[in-house]
Amino acid sequence: MRNIFAVAGIVIKELYRRKDFYVLFILTVLVCLIMASVNIFNDKQIVRYLKELCLLLIWVSSLVIAITTTARQIPAEREQRTLLPLLAKPLTRTQLIFGKFLGCWLACGLVLLCFYIFFGALAASRDHAWPLLNYFQAALLHWFALGVVVALALLGSLVFAAPSSNSTICFVIVATSLTVGRYLDTVALSQAEPFRSVLYAVYFAFPHLEWAFGMRNLIIHDWPLVDWGFAVLLILYLLAYTAAFLVAACLVFRRKPVN
């Protein structure tokens, strides 16, 4: 575990010493503050649109940070040749993969913390309410969904040579999951065989991140908390995908030549 935490610590240091997070955070803050300063049509419910926009920006920013940070980890180690002195030490390849995953995932957690604190403050300035438990539940599920994305990007970084191609493919998969993932079973129903079975297989094999993504609606519309039993099940579901991608990454990395 000590080795895994040591590798994770370096990833976290890298994140807060780079500009990516600060740029995205400042952009989100600016867009939201400008939106908050205008009151179109004197609509009293306009705060909902503000919350929706802010949460959407938080999701997009967190996905950008998760995918780009993770996608460059192993390729950068190869390119800079730091992988050689690292693996020449008593550090196994599995520990390196888990360390990179943990670092990226924890870094995403810190990013989410900053974003959700800002969101809470912005929403409270208009709503005069602090539904902390709702924010905590939404942020927690968001973080576990990012775990799947980080593990997927890590696996992709071992399969695809360039971080840019890996990032693009990860963005396409995640965007598909968030937008059309939930409709695949409905589309499958209207198809003839064998497409129906193929679509069903894709529907069940695909990680359904939209369930965590949908949690933001509870905050936007001030709906009550989701039952914690369901939330735990969803976390277990997301963890299963994370574990599957990590195991695949370890197996691929084990066969990969170091240089």
């Binding site: 040591a6 370096i10 240091k13 050689l84 002195p85 020449a88 008593p90 240089n259």
Partner: protein
């Protein structure tokens, strides 16, 4: 003599991905022994198999046949790397870290206690003359400074065996001299150093024994003065051993 590094009939083949391309033999039955406390130079032209040998010793490349041992332990076991330090050729360390943070990170991998880590970092930064730059990010370092921080990371666990892959490549004469001095000091401390180099002058100065390989085969092994006995310089001996024939001028 206590043998620290040993290879027995080491053979490494790389199969080509290209259709109808022959398998490339990188090492063809290499037998090598390095004794404790000696500085051993590993010489050969580009593509001779030096880096492949090091990659096998470090567990990066599995041998096709034969075996390699560090401290009597098969190199395929990670524990064999507990007492070694390795400096690869031309590495660009994490540029967002300072030298001190980099060394602390590597110390954690060796599970060194905090007090021991602090002591080692102070000692190593002094050895590689980077005390003044310890808090500066590595991205602001010159090539020579980066190479010296690389040497410091290779020494963080106080290794008994150092494997250096062309440690002076790309450095200016001053940088080369500083690295040479560090190797000399390590030799005086009783460390075993196994290094590859193209700088035959520096090999002649600091090595106790050398091995010359060509096309994956060991051509000669012995003390520097024995090898260059009948040649004016080590360079001449090297060129003759690898079979280099100078072309007559047109």
């Amino acid at each position: 003599m206590n043998v620290i590094l040993k290879t027995e009939k080491l053979r490494v083949e790389f199969s080509s991905r290209e259709f109808r391309q022959a398998t490339k033999v990188a090492l063809a039955g290499l037998n090598l022994e390095v004794n404790a406390g000696e500085v051993f130079g590993f010489l050969g032209p580009n593509g001779a198999g030096k880096t492949t040998t090091m990659n096998v010793l470090l567990g990066f490349v599995p041998p096709t046949s034969g075996a390699a041992y560090l401290f009597g332990i098969d190199v395929r076991q990670p524990i064999a790397r507990q007492r070694i330090g390795y400096l690869p050729e031309m590495t660009y360390y994490y540029k967002f870290l300072t030298a001190e943070e980099l060394l602390r990170f590597y110390a954690k991998i060796f599970s060194l206690p905090r007090a021991e880590t602090d002591r080692r970092i102070d000692q190593l930064l002094k050895l590689v003359e980077l005390e003044h730059a310890r808090k500066r990010p590595i991205k602001s370092y010159s090539k020579g400074m980066q190479q010296r921080v690389g040497l410091a990371q290779a020494l963080i666990n106080n290794p008994d065996l150092l494997i250096l892959d062309e440690p002076t490549s790309g450095l200016d004469p001053l940088g080369r001299m500083k690295v040479r001095e560090i190797i000399q000091r390590l030799k005086n401390e009783g460390k075993t150093v196994f290094f590859s180099s193209h700088e035959l002058g520096e090999v002649e100065t600091i090595c106790d024994r050398v091995a010359i390989i060509h096309q994956g085969e060991l051509k000669t092994i012995g003390r520097v003065h024995q090898i260059r006995e009948s040649y004016p310089t080590l360079e001449k001996a090297f060129l003759n051993i690898i079979g280099y024939q100078p072309q007559p001028a047109p």
